[in-house]
């Protein structure tokens, strides 16, 4: 009996010892990964550069553009007569649009207009559901808390093992690693890029330079795929009411302080537009009408069709390249200027 008890205690001690040693080994390997990953993933992101540039120049800015990659790549502030800044970013949703505004708008004495770039799926889109790593980046760059508050996943995302595991796997498997100097033609949704010298200069006005175009067949396939991705994966009905309320509140705050609010839908190719189900677009139209009725002072422009844009102006079925951005920016500038000059 005593022998059995002694053996049991020895077994327990041995297990604890092995567990501790195993755990120590795991911690060492884990730490080694974190150190190595921090050399692969650069500490300064496009989002960081953009937000810092915006914060530096906010006293001078008169027009702010918000939205996702459609605006980020589609509007070049250098073509505007007033000092403008493109605060849109890849995959950015209306929550982050409004939070950025809320954070900085009080410190923008010269602000005249805010332009919200909307999409067909904007009212149902929550970027933290698809791109959780961006939640961390918005907090690091601008101290914007995630919409659900600071939960466990927010803290675990400090670890690059959790934050970048999806891209890390892809990077390792495809042999692709992010480097300090990135070509102008590189165009990804991931924000873990540091701009090259030329790109950084452009990025200081918030605009992301994009070069390239697609042929008709590729545009057709791309349009179908992108539209399907947006209406089936990006849009969630449960998000609609909270998003609309948040946007309404922002519009209310801006108009109360005398800032003109514009809602725009940017240009798309017909390959993208026509791939959305009719009932989906009808619902959007209804939502927009309700929003406009509740805020009579705001102006809405649907630029998704009707502009003098050709196939070669588009990077893909739903993004403008730098040539298309120039055309669109000039048109938008003239449109806004006509309206803004009426404001004292």
């Amino acid at each position: 009996m005593q022998l059995k008890t002694a053996m049991r205690k020895k077994s327990v001690r041995s297990t604890w010892t092995k567990l501790l040693l195993f755990g120590a080994g795991f911690i060492i390997l884990y730490s080694a990964y974190e150190v190595a990953a921090r050399k692969i993933y650069l500490h300064r992101t496009n989002l960081d550069v953009q937000i810092k540039a915006f914060a530096d120049e906010r006293n001078e800015i008169e027009i702010v553009f918000l939205g996702n990659s459609h605006i980020h790549k589609g509007i070049n502030p250098q073509y505007f007569q007033r000092k403008a800044f493109n605060l849109a970013f890849n995959a950015q949703d209306l929550y982050y649009d409004t939070q950025l505004l809320h954070k900085y708008v009080a410190h923008m004495p010269r602000l005249k207009a805010v332009v919200f770039g909307l999409d067909y799926f904007s009212f149902g889109y929550d970027e933290s559901e698809l791109y959780p790593h961006l939640v961390r980046e918005y907090y690091d760059s601008a101290h914007i808390k995630p919409r659900a508050g600071l939960d466990v996943s927010f803290y675990t995302n400090y670890s690059l093992l959790f934050l970048h595991k999806e891209t890390f796997v892809g990077d390792i498997l495809t042999g692709k690693r992010k480097s300090v100097l990135h070509s102008l033609n590189e165009d990804t949704v991931s924000s873990t890029l540091v701009a090259s010298d030329i790109k950084e200069a452009l990025l200081r006005s918030g605009y992301q330079f994009s070069r390239g175009a697609m042929n008709k067949e590729d545009l057709h396939v791309n349009g179908l795929a992108r539209a399907k991705f947006h209406y089936s994966r990006c849009f969630r009905q449960k998000n609609v009411n909270p998003i609309r309320q948040r946007l309404s509140q922002s519009i209310h705050e801006l108009t109360a302080q005398g800032t003109k609010v514009f809602l725009i839908i940017p240009p798309f190719t017909s390959y993208y537009r026509d791939a959305f189900p009719a009932e989906f677009l009808n619902q959007l139209k209804q939502d927009m009408e309700e929003l406009l009725q509740s805020h009579p002072g705001i102006t809405f422009f649907d630029f998704s069709s009707g502009l003098p844009l050709e196939q070669h102006h588009f990077l893909d079925s739903d993004h403008l390249n730098y040539q298309g951005a120039e055309v669109f920016s000039r048109i938008l500038s003239d449109t806004l200027e006509n309206l803004l000059t009426q404001i004292p």
Binding site: L29, V169, G170, L173
Partner: protein, 493 residues
């Protein structure tokens, strides 16, 4: 409480420490408390239902054992089974039955509508009901004596790793382990951890990644071409295996941590060389349950009714088999879900088994004629494995499809519309690489394990080799695992 969550890890750690800190005769308290707490985290309202259902069968079994009269034993047995089946029917099948009957009445223009309501199905109801029923039946048949201790019996019914998706352990195997209690064994702990690791790998690296590819296809099959549907069907075969067996490994692993050996539920099912062999390897505890408590008693009962050699020109033994198998597999399908797709899936497997039995001799003769060399016949056994896998995969279409019409549409498109549309599926190369790599690794590991026992090989390796392998697995789960959904397919049953 999600199995991959930090609260669950803390819960397990606390339960383990308390379990081994107590003398073995009190460990049932920790196991029961942990099981009820686990159940309460899912839905506290159903804990009294679970406990009362458990208490009823505890009483019925004691009543069966204590009475000397066979007729009274039978009455207690019938009462117990009726109550169990009634509860199962009420929560799981009432809505389906009512809506099916209403549809039937509508079809015949009968102005009668059965009102129905949706009740939240208690977690694991199919599993713990079967456990209780098998216990009472075994007591009735005197295979085991009734458990005197209610607490230990309650642990058997509610044991938390197995309550949600099995295995459906027999009381005769589980209860003695609780009764005698096991001291802490390093071997159990290590084995448990290895099972957990393997289970997490299968579930979160393979099954979850496949789910991301397959779910959009099955939810809208009309929008996909035949080739996409075919790929989705093949992938689903691996998804359901990795999901279910992954969970089973996690359950077995947790059991081992507590020094309890739950019954193996899978034995390389996709290496089966016939449908019958497949069912001896897939969800073993469930199929043996159906065999012991439905198929065999039914076959025996029918054999006593059919005295002649032939009935309606069919050999009696074949007819008995056809009837018993059809009914059993009808129940197998129904157990998996209150839906016609599951029933169709079950009956399809019944058809496979019937055809297999009826044609066994002629197939054997034809095979011998085709391949005269015995050695080559053995080598070509892989053809049987190949055919069996495809028969099973075909049947999974019905299991997975949202409706019978969807299942037929999928089959139709696979046969008639086999082309690839690049816009059809959003393929991320890294995702595909991980999925295919995971499946190949799984198949390779299982193939090797079918030849030589991998556990034994692993145990013989030096500690640094074993630990290196464990670290690789852990990091593979971190890097390649997908934790967004965290639901297990068999939880819905």
């Amino acid at each position: 409480m999600q199995i991959t969550s930090a609260p669950f890890a803390i819960f397990i750690a606390a339960a383990l420490i308390l379990h081994y800190a107590l003398p073995s005769r009190f460990r049932w308290v920790i196991l029961l408390a942990a099981s009820l707490y686990f159940y309460a985290c899912w839905n506290v309202i159903y804990v009294p239902l679970l406990l009362s259902a458990t208490a009823l069968d505890y009483v019925f079994a004691k009543a069966i054992s204590s009475t000397p009269f066979q007729s009274r034993k039978k009455r207690w047995l019938i009462l117990s089974l009726s109550l169990n089946l009634f509860i199962l029917f009420l929560f799981k099948y009432f809505s389906f039955s009512a809506s099916s009957l209403n549809a039937l009445f509508e079809g015949f223009n009968i102005a009668l509508r059965i009102p129905f309501f949706h009740l939240l199905m208690p977690l694991g109801i199919s599993f713990f009901t079967f456990k209780k029923m098998s216990y009472v039946i075994d007591v009735f048949k005197r295979k085991i004596g009734p458990e005197a201790h209610f607490g230990r019996f309650a642990v058997y019914v509610t044991f938390f790793p197995a309550i949600a998706a099995g295995p459906i352990d027999r009381a005769g195997i589980f209860l003695p382990q609780i009764q005698r209690g096991r001291p802490f064994e390093e071997g159990d702990f290590t084995a448990g951890c290895k099972l957990l690791l393997w289970g997490f790998f299968k579930k979160f690296v393979i099954a979850e990644r496949i789910a991301a590819l397959v779910t959009p296809v099955f939810s809208q099959p009309q929008e996909h071409t035949g080739l996409t549907l075919l790929m989705a069907v093949y992938l689903y075969s691996f998804q359901i295996f990795c999901d279910f067996s992954g969970y089973t490994d996690i359950a077995l692993g947790i059991g081992r941590l507590f020094g309890l050996r739950l019954t193996q539920n899978f034995n390389l099912p996709y290496f089966a060389n016939s449908i019958a062999d497949f069912w001896r390897r897939w969800h073993i505890t469930f199929t043996t349950w159906m065999r012991d408590y439905v198929f065999l008693p039914l076959s025996f009962s029918l054999s006593r009714k059919f005295k002649k050699n032939k009935v309606l020109l069919i050999r009696t033994d074949h007819l008995i088999y056809i009837l018993a198998i059809s009914f059993t597999w009808f129940l197998v399908g129904l157990w998996h879900g209150a839906g016609w797709t599951f029933i169709a899936w079950g009956l399809l497997h019944a058809a496979y088994l019937v055809v297999s039995v009826l044609t066994r001799k002629s197939r054997k003769r034809a095979w011998k004629k085709l391949v005269r060399n015995k050695t080559w016949r053995k080598k070509f056994q892989w053809i049987s494995v190949f055919i069996t896998f495809h028969l099973v995969t075909f049947a999974w279409i019905f299991f997975r499809a949202n409706s019978l019409s969807d299942a037929i549409l999928i089959i139709k498109n696979i046969l008639l519309n086999i082309r690839l549309n690049t816009a059809d599926i959003q393929l991320d190369h890294s995702q595909v690489f991980v999925v295919l790599g995971g499946i190949l690794f799984l198949l390779a590991a299982q193939f090797i394990h079918s030849r030589i026992n991998l556990h034994t090989i692993l145990e013989r390796q030096p500690v640094y080799v074993r630990w290196a392998l464990y670290y690789v697995f852990i990091f593979a789960i971190f890097f390649f695992g997908r934790f967004e959904t965290m639901e297990f397919i068999y939880f819905q049953f």
